[in-house]
């Protein structure tokens, strides 16, 4: 079965004063119908840019999709104009953004912001759109939906705003929802509620979810498949159990080790392990493996030759020279 969305060799570049910033540099990601795929990595790894590139939501210029294909239901989205993409936006692919505090327009009621999407994509009257909006708000468990629909974003808490964002993204029942760190800006108890809600909605509407996050805990709880990104490239991809059970790439291993473990902490107090250094600035990326400067297993070949992403076990792919040696 062909995947719902297939990103092939995507390169998204930004022109800056210092040169071309290769934010996304040859990424392959595919998502099947009804699947939850997590994309993980530190800030600055190109996760968000990858997601934004799908619907061309990056600022162009300075951004530019330099190469690659984004095939959604058999159609390449890259050559489409913004106008043609408007038919795909919200209707086929919904988007939930990171910051519920700033992602809603402060001068329009939340009802209007949800309803305008419905009115754009479906032949509904104003009244029908309002009814559907109230229905969506009930679905995302906003109390007193009939009254709240006329309220402005500043009258909602962060968690409630993210529920509004989810209702907005799901209003047109898209086949794929891209959630860009939907819980990062929320406090922990609300995070769990929002993830549960997202899971609930996914089951109800049968859509696929591409969940972008940097929290490995979120990955373990929600994902079926995981893509690990580092410095604009995919470094490892596996089913969630395989990834946590047998992480192959040193970066993935580092990410997993950096999860606080409450069960182990009680036995022996150990310092939480961190990955030293930070993500390189991708204007003139280092030759060879981009993770090499921070890698504890780095060999001489790592700074000379770039490792390619290849299958090491069924459905488990990674890009590291370590696999070659063993």
């Amino acid at each position: 079965m062909a995947p719902l969305l297939e990103i092939k060799g995507l390169k998204t570049h930004f022109s800056t004063d210092d040169g071309i910033l290769q934010a996304v540099d040859g990424v392959d990601i595919s998502i099947n119908k009804g699947e939850t795929l997590c994309v993980v990595g530190e800030s600055g790894c190109g996760k968000t840019v990858t997601a934004m590139s799908i619907l061309k939501l990056i600022a162009m210029p300075p951004g530019r999709i330099a190469a690659g294909q984004i095939i959604f239901e058999g159609r390449d989205l890259v050559p489409l104009t913004s106008q043609q993409l408007d038919e795909v936006r919200a209707k086929e692919i919904g988007f939930i953004f990171q910051e519920p505090m700033t992602s809603l327009n402060p001068v329009l009621t939340v009802g209007e912001q949800i309803a305008e999407s419905l009115r754009r994509h479906e032949a509904v009257t104003r009244k029908q759109a309002l009814e559907r909006t109230i229905e969506m708000l009930k679905l995302v468990q906003i109390p007193n939906a009939e009254g709240r629909v006329h309220h402005y974003p500043h009258q909602f808490s962060g968690g409630m705003r993210q529920r509004v964002m989810i209702a907005m993204a799901l209003a047109c029942k898209p086949k794929l929802v891209i959630a860009d760190e939907p819980t990062t800006a929320l406090d922990v108890t609300i995070q769990a509620q929002i993830l549960d809600l997202l899971q609930d909605m996914k089951e109800r509407f049968g859509m696929a979810v591409m969940l972008i996050t940097h929290a490995m805990g979120v990955v373990a709880e929600t994902a079926q498949r995981v893509v690990v990104m580092y410095a604009g490239k995919v470094v490892e991809e596996a089913l969630v159990d395989d990834l946590f059970g047998d992480p192959r790439h040193p970066y993935t291993q580092g990410l997993i080790r950096s999860i606080p473990r409450i069960d182990l902490a009680s036995e022996h107090k150990t310092r939480l392990e961190a990955i030293g250094g930070s993500v390189p600035i991708l204007v003139n990326p280092p030759v060879g493996c981009r993770f090499a400067p921070r890698c504890r297993h780095a060999m001489s070949i790592c700074t000379e030759k770039e490792p390619v992403l290849r299958e090491i076990a069924p459905g488990h792919r990674m890009a590291c020279h370590l696999g070659d040696a063993s």
């Binding site: 934004m52 619907l55 936006r89 402060p106 001068v107 999407s117 754009r120 907005m168």
Partner: protein
Amino acid sequence: MSQYVLRRILIAIPSLLGISVVLFVVLALAPGDPFSELATNPNVPADVAASLRAKFGLDDPIYLRYLHWISAMAHGDWGFSFVSRMNVDQLILQRLPATLYVVGSAQILALLIAIPVGVFAATKPYSLFDQIANTLAFVGFSLPTFFTGILFILIFSVTLDWLPLVYTTDVKGTGIHWVLEMIRQAIMPVAVLGLFQAASMTRFVRSAMLDVIRLDYVTTARAKGLGQAKVIVKHVMRNAMIPVVTLIALQMPAVFGGAIVTEQIFRIPGIGSLLISSILANDTPVVMAVTFVFACLVVLFNLIADVLYGWLDPRISLR
């Protein structure tokens, strides 16, 4: 809403009183008074002049004079112009329409230019259109109105003889002819004042738009597939207009100030030229009243801005 407006009007009273105190004190300290001309007139004996001064209370202490003036103003007695030989309130009512007509039209012209140009320039920053608009705006607000005004007169009145040189209130003719003539004689002053305003406003609209256009909720709107026009008008402009409204309201004193110069150049018998001529003639009651009317207009426009603000931004509650 009406309660909010009422409260704002009540707050305006003390600020207007404060302004009147300042105006009165400044004018009292300024050299010259309504009778200084009498004093230099050899036909008026010195003792007559002195008794006139005493009769009108000009030698009273300043606070008494102020109280006298403010209570008279409150009773609707705005005084008598010694130069024009008529009541000040009538004089102002005679002159105000011309000023409001020219200043109002100029502001409308400025908005009609600044908003579309600023918005369009912001949607395509650093494009050719943006560069040209920016350059023209820069030239526009670098040229003072007394320069462009005279330039316009030279080109359109003297050389080409298309437009009248002097603005008159008693336009001959009736009906459509009168309307056309009123428009024709206002073209130059409105253009000079309006283009000057439009220049700075365009740059402000553009930067306000650029501030909003990169915000997260604009990306959210784009992700809904609304289309460029709707995203810009409904999501960006609505938010960008909030600071623009403030700027326009704060600029109103400068606009009236600019109108004084423009009125002098085009000989518009408005309230600004009235102010200048009464200052030169030491016609104190008129100067006081005109400056006070200016103050009232500025306070009024601030009030309008506040109401617009509450309408544009639901986060500001009008309570």
